[in-house]
């Protein structure tokens, strides 16, 4: 059953049309990667889905409630971080969480402590947020967005501005939450490779239009196995494997699109032709490459 259903939403700012009939769904337990270049309409779509901007036409249903007609019920089980973690800088992390908990009610002190532990902020939770690093603020933002035990989570570029360590921390936290709490998660990014390791579905948006919307498995099925060989020389290699799809990036490397069953015969052939093989490994296709293959485009940027 779909928890989030977006039906042909349109949005214009003045004469400029930002979104064209954007539609997609998110089911329970799914992590939808909402992917597109900067300015494609990702943030606008998320804002429309949260009632932060008005929808020109089309409908959004969350947990079966129409967002426009039944806002309070539709938004009740939603958690969100949009653009940046929105927290009150002059309050401590705990005070911020307490204020949000107060709005929902029925959240005990123990539950709050547990949540603080989940996002790993227990040591600094009583410090003013103004003293937090961006990564800590992002984690506090995530805690704030799941305080009401939502079954839907919207995360707009949650790793923006974070250092590599921060990105890993936030990513791990999202995976943990999805696993433990079985939420429907929408996570947007302009960087496909950042998401391809953990999303279940991908919705790719370009110039305000959805260009691809499919399970990640489908994208990954487009992945044809490719093996990279490191050898002492590449001279004559193209002639040797003239019947195979081959790429030669440099003087000591070549890549072959083959099935793993063929590896032994390839190796025998190389050795018998006086090539020295130094190393061999499988090269996976990135989501971006798969997407380009699917759409026949040049780039998503």
């Amino acid at each position: 059953m779909s928890i989030v259903k977006v039906e042909s939403i349109n949005k214009s700012f003045g004469k400029k049309k930002i979104l064209h009939d954007v539609s997609f769904e998110i089911n329970e337990g799914e992590i939808l990667g909402f992917i597109g270049p900067n300015g494609a309409g990702k943030t606008t779509t998320i804002k429309l889905m949260l009632g932060l901007q008005s929808i020109d036409s089309g409908e959004v249903y969350i947990n079966g409630y129409n967002l426009r007609k039944d806002f309070e019920k539709a938004i009740e089980k939603v958690g969100a971080i949009i653009e940046s973690p929105d927290v009150y800088m002059y309050l401590s992390g705990r005070e911020n969480l307490k204020l949000i908990a107060n709005l929902y009610g029925g959240i005990s002190k123990e539950e709050l402590d547990e949540l603080i532990k989940t996002v790993g902020l227990e040591k600094r939770i009583d410090d003013k947020v103004s003293k937090y690093s961006l990564g800590m603020r992002q984690r506090l933002g995530i805690a704030a967005s799941i305080i009401n035990k939502p079954n839907v989570l919207f995360l707009d570029e949650p790793t923006n501005g974070l250092d590599p360590q921060g990105i890993i921390e936030v990513r791990d936290l999202i995976v943990k939450l999805a696993k433990e709490r079985k939420m429907a998660i929408l996570i947007s990014s302009h960087n496909l490779s950042e998401l391809d390791s953990f999303i279940t579905d991908a919705c790719i948006i370009q110039n305000g239009k959805v260009v691809t919307n499919c399970p990640i498995k489908k994208l990954k099925s487009l992945d044809v196995p490719k093996y990279r060989f490191k050898v002492n020389k590449v001279k004559g290699i193209k002639t040797l494997f003239a019947n195979k799809k081959i790429e030669v990036p440099d003087d000591e490397t070549f890549e072959l699109e083959i099935d793993k069953k063929e590896i032994n015969s390839i190796l025998k052939k190389l050795i018998s032709n006086d090539y020295e093989v130094y190393s061999l490994f499988k090269v996976s296709m990135s989501l971006e490459e798969a997407f380009l293959k699917e759409t026949g485009g040049n780039s998503i940027e």
Partner: protein, 483 residues
């Protein structure tokens, strides 16, 4: 909704600007108190300055034979004042005592007659007294002064008055009324032991007598009062009616020269010190919503299960609660500092206040509580109106700085617009005027004729609906722009 209001108040109390406001108001009031206490020796300066000043005038004239008429008049005035002040100083007469009043008022004519002879060289005295005769009389008065019975002086005046009334040739209703009041005042002084002095009760009784003829005249001319005379008329009517009440209910007692009224002091925090409250409310009203937009936290708020209307109303309620807190805070600080100041000066307080109510056509007696409540409610209407306008404007601009400037502009502009009321009769119908209902609450004549009670009520309800409705409409339609 209560959860939203609680959160708003929590945020407002924890904001640095709110904390700074409380500290600054405290410091400003404390500082002004310290300055007043440390440097207030005005009475002493006045007294020294006066005697030395008169002496300096005398010195500049005394050895000259070529004085013109104006200079002679100045010289005479200085000599009379100097005689009075040096007698007071020489005899160690206390300030504001009946003795001081006796020297300054009753002995004044003798000093004048004496010094007239010195300056002009002849006498205009009706009894044709010589300088020696006058000096002898002055000595007699000084002796009398040493064992002065101030109430006996009043009794003498009363018996003289009774004799004069009997001898009076021309009788009229006007004179009868005046003499009645004169007798009433003297009898009241005797009964309540209020000698003639410069103390508050005595001065009020004197003013009552001085203004009574005008009061009688105005009562007679009622209905034919010109527009430009209305204020004076109202003031005299109010004063005389109040005095009648005070004498009847024996509310005037012997007092110090200035008698601070605790009823007024407590409420003055809301009126005289209202600028502190206005600063606080503009600061809150301008930022309560705008700051959420500026800092991006509005998104955090809007994705919670509450409609935008509820969010806006909770912010308005929270800002009104903050205004109430500011009012109480300023009241407490102002009252405490006034008590400290007046106690330091050795003043005794009065705890009731009488005011003539033009709507009820009677004098109303207030205590601290009911006077404060009435002042509070009337001022809150004004504060809430200003708050709503600022919030409505900040919803539109979503800029704290612009909204604060607008709020102060509106506050100052209201004062400036007053100058144009004669030309543009509709100006008093603007919200800042219709919400100023203090005169209505205390039954005072309206500042602007157009502002009758139904007009006040109608326009205030209209403006409240307008500003809240407008703010709701703007807020509901507002898209949260992408960063």
């Amino acid at each position: 909704m209560s959860k939203l209001v609680y959160n708003e108040l929590y945020k407002l109390f924890h904001k640095r600007s709110t904390k700074l406001y409380f500290v600054l108001v405290f410091l400003l009031l404390t500082l002004s108190l310290v300055i007043v206490l440390k440097f207030d020796n005005s009475e002493e300066i006045e007294s020294n300055y006066d005697i030395n000043y008169q002496q300096s005038i005398i010195d500049s004239y005394k050895d000259r034979n070529d004085l013109n008429d104006d200079e002679k008049s100045d010289y005479l005035g200085a000599l009379v004042e100097h005689d009075k002040l040096s007698l007071i100083k020489e005899k160690g007469i206390k300030r504001n005592s009946p003795e001081e009043a006796y020297v300054k008022d009753n002995m004044s004519q003798l000093f004048y007659s004496k010094n007239f002879i010195i300056v002009y060289g002849y006498t205009t005295d009706v009894n044709n007294r010589t300088l020696d005769d006058i000096n002898a009389e002055i000595d007699k008065e000084i002796k009398k002064l040493e064992e002065l019975d101030p109430i006996a002086v009043i009794k003498d005046e009363l018996s003289t008055l009774n004799k004069e009334i009997v001898c009076l040739d021309i009788k009229s209703e006007f004179c009868d009324k005046y003499f009645d009041i004169y007798k009433k005042v003297l009898e009241y002084r005797i009964e309540m032991n209020i000698p003639k002095s410069y103390n508050a009760a005595s001065m009020e009784l004197e003013r009552y007598l001085t203004e009574y003829p005008s009061y009688l005249q105005y009562e007679k001319d009622k209905g034919r009062i010109k527009e430009e005379e209305k204020d004076t008329y109202n003031e005299i009517i109010s004063f005389n009616k109040t005095m009648e009440y005070k004498i009847e209910h024996k509310l005037l007692t012997q007092s110090s020269v200035v008698q601070p009224n605790m009823v007024e002091i407590v409420s003055s925090g809301l009126t005289d010190m209202s600028i502190f409250i206005v600063i606080g409310l503009i600061m809150i009203g301008a930022s309560v919503l705008s700051e959420e937009f500026e800092k991006g936290t509005v998104k955090l708020l809007l994705v919670k299960p509450f409609t935008r209307n509820k969010i806006l109303i909770s912010k308005i309620i929270a800002s009104i609660i903050m205004i109430v807190i500011f009012c109480l805070y300023v009241t407490v600080l102002n009252t405490v500092s006034s008590i400290i100041y007046n106690n330091y000066l050795g003043m005794s307080f009065i705890y009731s206040l009488c005011e003539y109510n033009f709507s009820l056509h009677k004098v109303v007696e207030y205590n601290i509580f009911n006077y404060y409540i009435l002042t509070f409610i009337s001022q809150m209407i004004y504060f809430i109106m200003l708050d709503l306008i600022v919030i409505c404007f900040s919803t539109l601009t979503t800029s704290t700085a612009i909204s604060i400037s607008f709020g102060f502009g509106l506050f100052i502009g209201t004062g400036i617009l007053t100058e144009f009321v004669q030309k543009f009769k509709w100006i008093p119908l603007l919200p800042m005027y219709t919400s100023d209902m203090i005169n209505v609450f205390f039954g005072q004549p309206p500042t602007y004729k157009i502002l009758t009670l139904p007009v006040h009520v109608f326009f205030n309800i209209f403006y409240v609906i307008l500003f809240i409705g407008l703010a709701m409409f703007i807020f509901k339609k507002k898209d949260i722009k992408n960063q």
